[in-house]
């Protein structure tokens, strides 16, 4: 049975790395941490691995959070930072992967200008939609992306987002508004382009 503690008890327990405090921390915040990380990195396994890093970071630097912000806000902040770090690492790793794929294609002698046609089914269509949304969200400026994800996915109030991001309430409102405008623009452009290119084939993204 995992003990229930107040944030004060939890902080005191974590400072001395008390087993019960660690269990309580993970039990209380694991869902928020994993889901927030998942909304950023778009992969549940990566998010689960990241959550471990987040909790270790909390244990490591709990002494530095001297009541400047609530534990809840502080944990969100660490989760967002860890997720963004992960994405940056992934981005730099992607270049190497792409180079590897290119070399493999070159050595295999396949014609990579005409890849084998993908089998189109509903699952692929869903994947495509997911990718489209993830790409559009990831293309937003960092602050807009954080504010949008915390608001739209994590359903946090503007005030909570302002605390997490260390910004004023109007700044957060403006960030979320601009994020939505940019996303709309990107998605509408994509749909219009797609419609133009596939006038005869129909739109796979268009639900009948």
């Amino acid at each position: 049975m995992v003990p229930v503690m107040t944030d004060k008890e939890l902080t005191d327990g974590l400072l001395i790395q008390k087993k019960e405090a660690i269990q309580c921390l993970v039990d209380k915040y694991q869902k928020n941490v994993i889901k927030t990380a998942f909304y950023f990195v778009a992969n549940m396994e990566d998010a689960e691995d990241l959550s471990q890093e987040v909790f270790l970071e909390i244990l490591k630097s709990i002494g530095r959070n001297k009541g400047n912000s609530s534990l809840y806000t502080w944990i969100y902040r660490i989760t967002v930072n860890k997720s963004l770090d992960h994405l940056r690492r992934q981005k730099s790793g992607n270049f190497v992967n792409q180079l590897g794929t290119l070399l493999k294609v070159f050595y295999d002698g396949k014609n990579w200008n005409n890849p084998e046609p993908a089998i189109v089914d509903t699952r692929n269509e869903d994947k495509e939609k997911r990718k489209l949304l993830d790409d559009a969200v990831n293309s937003l400026p960092e602050n807009q992306r954080i504010a949008f994800i915390l608001n739209k996915y994590e359903e946090l109030a503007y005030k909570e987002i302002a605390e997490i991001m260390n910004l004023s309430l109007p700044s957060v409102e403006s960030l979320i508004h601009r994020a939505k405008m940019n996303l709309q623009k990107k998605l509408v452009n994509h749909f219009s382009e797609y419609a133009k290119n596939n006038k005869q084939d129909g739109l796979p993204l268009h639900s009948e």
Binding site: E48, Q52, L56, K180, L187
Partner: protein, 156 residues
Amino acid sequence: MQKTTNKMDCLFIRSNLFSYQEKKLSDKEFKEFEDHLHSCNDCSRIVSDFQSVASIIDEKKAELPNPFIFTRIIQGIESRIELTKEKNNPFFQRMLRPISVSFLMLIAVIIGFSIVKQRDTRFSDTNNHQNDIQAMKSGLNIPDFIDEDKTFFDNH
């Protein structure tokens, strides 16, 4: 049948997709929005595509982590804490354990050797003693003791 639509309407639709989806338009705006969708195929398709992609947000929200993740996280944290503790130990403390184990093993080996050696020495001393008695016996011409009673009973 495609009705004629004015450009301003299309622009309004395309820049208020989130507001429409989140039901944040006023009643009047909402009605105009819907009326426009009935009259413009392009906007109707875009709204439909947008809603289809935006529904992925709800799908993602519904995804749940591994139910055993709690145990995994706790185990990971505990093993990392142990590792950190070991790393933080001073050098001589980290070395003390293997050195003391090696030292004890060395002592055990030395004790073992000395016991074996002692037994060998005792055995060779006994052998030498027997040889000396035999030499003295042959020097003095003393025959070996024969138990005549035992021999008699053995023969009968």
